[in-house]
Amino acid sequence: MYAWLWRMLPGRPLTRALTAAVLVAVVGAVLWYAVFPLLEPAVTLDEVTVRE
């Protein structure tokens, strides 16, 4: 998967490495700001109230 991605990236190895880093950052940001906030309510590790 990653080898295939690397082959798909254009340019010299340095350009490819920079493009890959940007891609990683974009994927990370999408997860952090869009996906994780949607998933978070499903995680009930921190239930703090007492109720019936």
Partner: protein, 217 residues
Amino acid sequence: MAIPGARIVSEYADRMRATLRAVGEISITAGLILMLFCAYLLWGTGAYTQSQQALLRRELDTRKEPTRQVKPGQAVAMLRIPKLGDDYRYAVVEGVGAEQLKKGPGHYPKSAMPGQIGNFVLSGHRTTYAAPFNEIDELERDDEIIVEAREARYVYRVTSQDIVEPDEIEVLAPVPGKPDISPIRAFITLSTCHPEYSAAERLIVYGVLKTTEPREE
């Protein structure tokens, strides 16, 4: 000399290798994403709480109505626990719904107001959303819990700690643990999850009002 069938075996091995590599890469990726999600829960959620706390504090500074008229989602009072640091300050929000607890420690709407006879009950997150109640297990007898409301500064002192089942609502009673008795004193009760990172039980800290200092207008 060619071994019969060797070509087929080698093709099979190539396909096997490619599949295993893909499975391995996907597993490692999933692991990294999970780690990032844990980091988000522990630290990322706190950013939201910090921004909401700033709003609640401003609301407290400009509040004109009496504390008892507060509506769900609004700021009730400022909570200070000197034992947990001189800078330990959280604006308490009215309500204990998921959305309200994301903003800070929440006040059970049916429980007493700060300083009033009965039980002033607060819940707060222990590990996520800035984790305001992360260290309340360190509170010991006679430690101070200070609640700064608009009209007065209420100083409670810690009396005891307990670990209870999540449905043990007796701790919310006007006299904590004694639902049949009507109160003659002002209590405070803090609840959070226990053990840390688990929803199995609840950690409860009890206190009683020590002094009331009316605030100058």
